[in-house]
C-alpha cells in the first residue's frame, strides 16, 4: 500500500491531503470560490464533492470577506475549515476576518478560544495577467502576530504541509503557486505531515547560502545546480514555512558559508528577504563575509506585456548573477 516512490503532481498531492483529512476528521471541510470547478482550483478538489457531499465541499458566491469570516467563525465553533482563494489578490477583501479576527482571536480571548482555520491562497504569476492577478502576499501575512504562513515547493511538502495546517490549532495561511501545480515528485500514499516551521536543505554546499520558498525554491535549486558545474558550491535551503521561520537552518548555513542570497517571488521593500537579512544581522552578523544580497521583484506592480513581464520576474540568471557577485568580491 505505502509506496514511498509513487509520483504525484503537486495539485493531486494537495487533493490527497483533503481526501485523507476529510475522511479521518469530520470537522474538516472545504469552502471557497470554485471548489466545484477544475477551471478554478485545478485538480486540488477532484472527487471531493462526490465523496463528501456539498455540505462539506462548499462552492461560494464571490464574497471573500463574508466567506472567509464564515470559515473563521466555523473554526471558532469547533470545525477545521479550509477556505480557498483561487487568486490571492482577491483575498485582500478578507483582511478583516484573517487579521483582525482569526490572527488575534486566541490572544484577545486569553487562550480561551482557538481558530483552527486554513486560509489557502494561490499565486498566479505571469501569463500577461497584470497587477491584480499575480501578487504574492506572504510578507504581508507574515507581519501579523498569530498567523502562520507556509509555502510548499514540492508535492511532498504540499501534502504534508496541508495536513499540518489543517491539524494546527492556529490560523495558517497556506500559499501555493499555480506554476507548481504540474510539478511531479514522490509522495507517500499514507497520511503524514511536514512540521510547520522547518526548512530543508535541498542541496548542501560550502560557498554561499541560497534561501528561497515556493516556486522560487525550484529556480534557486536549478541555479545552485548550474553553479555547481562552474565550481561554485551553493547550499540551497527551501524554508517551506515563512512564519515561524526556521532560523536555525539559516544561521547554521550562513555560519558555514559566510555568504547569503535570498531569492523571493515578491517585492523587495519590507519583504521576506529583508526579514531574513535582518535576523542574520541581528544574530550572527560577525559570520558574514559580505553584505547579503536580495533577488526579488522590483517595487513595481506586475506588468502585462510579455517583454515587461520577462524583466519583471527574477529567473535562474538573476540568481546566478547574485551568487557570483558575492564570490567575485
Amino acid at each position: 500500500m505505502s509506496s514511498a516512490n509513487r509520483k504525484l503532481q503537486y495539485s493531486l498531492a494537495i487533493n490527497e491531503a483533503f481526501h485523507q483529512m476529510m475522511e479521518s476528521d469530520e470537522s474538516v471541510f472545504l469552502i471557497g470560490q470554485g471548489v466545484k470547478s477544475p477551471w478554478y482550483v485545478g485538480k486540488t478538489a477532484d472527487g471531493l464533492i462526490k465523496r463528501f457531499g456539498a455540505e462539506r465541499v462548499i462552492d461560494t458566491p464571490v464574497s471573500e470577506n463574508g466567506v472567509t469570516g464564515a470559515a473563521v467563525g466555523a473554526a471558532i465553533a469547533g470545525m477545521r475549515p479550509v477556505v480557498m482563494h483561487p487568486r490571492m489578490d482577491f483575498m485582500l477583501y478578507a483582511f478583516d476576518p484573517i487579521i483582525n479576527q482569526a490572527a488575534n482571536w486566541h490572544y484577545m480571548s486569553g487562550g480561551t478560544s482557538s481558530v483552527p482555520v486554513v486560509i489557502w491562497g494561490v499565486v498566479n504569476r505571469g501569463g500577461e495577467q497584470a497587477a491584480q492577478h499575480s501578487q504574492a502576499f506572504h510578507a504581508l501575512f507574515s507581519h501579523i502576530p498569530g498567523l502562520k504562513v507556509v509555502m510548499p515547493a514540492t508535492p511532498y511538502d504540499a501534502k504534508g504541509l496541508m495536513v499540518a495546517a489543517i491539524q494546527d490549532n492556529n490560523p495558517v495561511v497556506f500559499i501555493d503557486d499555480r506554476w507548481l501545480y504540474g510539478v511531479e515528485d514522490e509522495v507517500p500514499e499514507e497520511l503524514y505531515s511536514v512540521p510547520i516551521g522547518e526548512g530543508i536543505i535541498r542541496k548542501p554546499g560550502n560557498d554561499v547560502t541560497l534561501v528561497a520558498v515556493s516556486y522560487m525554491a525550484h529556480i534557486a535549486h536549478k541555479a545552485a545546480n548550474s553553479l555547481e558545474k562552474e565550481g561554485i558550491d551553493v547550499e540551497m535551503i527551501d524554508l517551506r514555512t515563512v512564519k515561524p521561520l526556521d532560523t536555525e537552518i539559516i544561521f547554521n548555513s550562513v555560519k558555514k558559508t559566510g555568504r547569503l542570497v535570498i531569492a523571493d517571488g515578491s517585492w523587495k521593500t519590507g519583504g521576506f528577504a529583508a526579514e531574513i537579512i535582518a535576523l542574520v544581522n541581528e544574530n550572527i552578523f560577525d559570520h558574514l563575509k559580505q553584505p547579503a544580497v536580495r533577488v526579488t521583484l522590483p517595487d513595481i506592480p506586475a506588468p502585462a506585456s510579455a517583454d515587461l513581464e520577462k524583466s519583471y520576474y527574477p529567473d535562474e540568471g538573476s540568481i546566478i548573477s547574485a551568487v557570483k557577485s558575492l564570490i567575485k568580491n
Binding site: 469552502i31 458566491p61 463574508g66 466567506v67 465553533a77 480571548s109 480561551t112 478560544s113 492556529n170
Partner: protein, 325 residues
C-alpha cells in the same frame, strides 16, 4: 401567556445587565477602569429577550457593546468585571478588556469591536451547526452602524443561500457613534435590507422585552426547523453615550443628542416597563422584585471583591496566548 419562570428570568437578566453596567460608571470616572467601555444601559431588553430562547449549545457573537450579550448568555459577572479591570482572572485573562468578552462553554463565542466583523463569524457558527446537524442556532448581535458595512450583505446572502440557522439581531439605537441614523441611511427601515434575500425579517420594539422575546421564539423555532435565517431589527436606545458614561447630550462637549430625546427614551425604560407588567399582572410583588434586585446587587458586589483580590497579568506573560498549542 408567558410562564412565571420566563418572566422572572427576563426581569433578573435585565437587572443583572443594568446594575453591572451602572456599577462601572464610578470606576471609569475614577480611572480604575481604563479600557474603552461601551455601556449597554437602556438596551437590556434586546439581550434578555433573545438570550431567554437560547440554550448553552446555541452560539452568539457580539460587538464592542456586548456586556449584556455576554451576561445573558451565561458569562460570569466576576470574570467580566475582572476583565474590564485588566485582571488575570478576567474572562480573557486581561488580554481583551471590555470589547473582547468570551464564554465559549456557555456558547458566547466572542465579542469584538470591528463594526460588522463578527457577523460573518456567526454565519460560520451557523454553517458549523448545519454541517454537524446538531440543531443549534447562531445569533449575531450588531448595531445600526454595521448596516453600512458590505460584509453584512455578503453574510445575509450566504446564510440565505444555505438556509443557515442564524438569527441576525440588529440593535438599532439610532446612533452610529456620533451620527444619527438619518445621516447614514436614506431611510430608517433597516429590517427591509434582509427582504431581497428572502429572509424572514421584522422590526420590534426593542424596549419591550416581551415583544423581543416573542420574536426571538419565532426566530429560533424557524431556525431549528431548518427554515433560517431570520433578521430581527430591534428599535432601542442607549441611555449612555457611545463610549464611557458620558450621555452625549447636546450642549455638552460631545454635543450629539437632544436632551428631550434622551428624556423621552428614559420614559420607555425596558426594565420599568416589565416591572409594571409583572406587578399589574400579579406575577410578582414589590418585595419579590426588590429581593431579586438585592441578590443581584450582592452578586455584583462580590464580583468587585473578586476583582480587587485579583492580580494584573504578570509582565513576564506578555507573550502568552499568541499561538494556540
Amino acid at each position: 401567556m408567558y410562564s412565571e419562570e420566563v418572566l422572572k428570568k427576563l426581569y433578573a437578566d435585565m437587572i443583572l445587565v443594568r446594575l453591572s453596567e451602572e456599577s462601572l460608571v464610578e470606576p471609569i470616572l475614577s480611572g480604575d477602569v481604563k479600557c474603552p467601555v461601551h455601556l449597554y444601559s437602556g438596551q437590556e431588553a434586546v439581550a434578555a429577550g433573545i438570550g431567554a430562547v437560547l440554550n448553552e449549545k446555541d452560539s452568539a457573537f457580539g460587538t464592542h457593546r456586548s456586556h449584556g450579550h455576554y451576561l445573558v448568555k451565561g458569562g460570569s459577572v466576576k470574570e467580566m468585571i475582572a476583565e474590564i479591570h485588566g485582571k488575570s482572572t478576567g474572562c480573557s485573562k486581561g488580554r481583551g478588556g471590555s470589547m473582547h468578552l468570551y464564554a465559549p462553554d456557555k456558547g458566547f463565542l466572542g465579542a469584538a469591536p470591528i463594526v460588522a466583523g463578527t457577523i460573518s463569524l456567526a454565519v460560520g457558527a451557523g454553517m458549523a451547526s448545519s454541517i454537524r446537524k446538531d440543531g443549534t442556532v447562531a445569533v449575531s448581535f450588531f448595531g445600526d452602524g454595521a448596516v453600512g458595512e458590505g460584509v453584512l450583505y455578503e453574510s445575509l446572502n450566504l446564510a440565505a443561500l444555505r438556509k443557515l440557522p442564524v438569527i441576525f439581531v440588529c440593535e438599532n439605537n439610532l446612533y452610529s457613534t456620533h451620527l444619527h441614523i438619518s445621516e447614514i441611511r436614506p431611510n430608517d427601515e433597516i429590517y427591509k435590507i434582509a427582504e431581497p434575500f428572502g429572509i424572514t425579517s421584522f422590526r420590534v420594539d426593542g424596549n419591550d422585552v416581551l415583544e423581543v422575546y416573542e420574536a426571538a421564539e419565532k426566530a429560533v423555532e424557524q431556525c431549528r426547523n431548518n427554515n433560517g435565517p431570520v433578521f430581527i431589527e430591534t428599535l432601542t436606545y442607549r441611555m449612555r453615550g457611545h463610549v464611557g458614561p458620558d450621555d452625549n447630550i447636546q450642549g455638552t462637549h460631545t454635543d450629539i443628542r437632544p436632551a428631550a430625546e434622551v428624556e423621552d427614551w428614559r420614559q420607555k425604560d425596558p426594565i420599568e416597563r416589565l416591572k409594571k407588567y409583572l406587578l399589574e399582572n400579579g406575577v410578582a410583588d414589590v418585595e419579590e422584585l426588590d429581593l431579586i434586585e438585592r441578590e443581584i446587587q450582592q452578586e455584583i458586589n462580590e464580583a468587585y471583591v473578586f476583582t480587587n483580590d485579583s492580580q494584573l497579568p504578570p509582565k513576564s506573560e506578555l507573550e502568552k496566548y499568541v499561538f494556540s498549542k
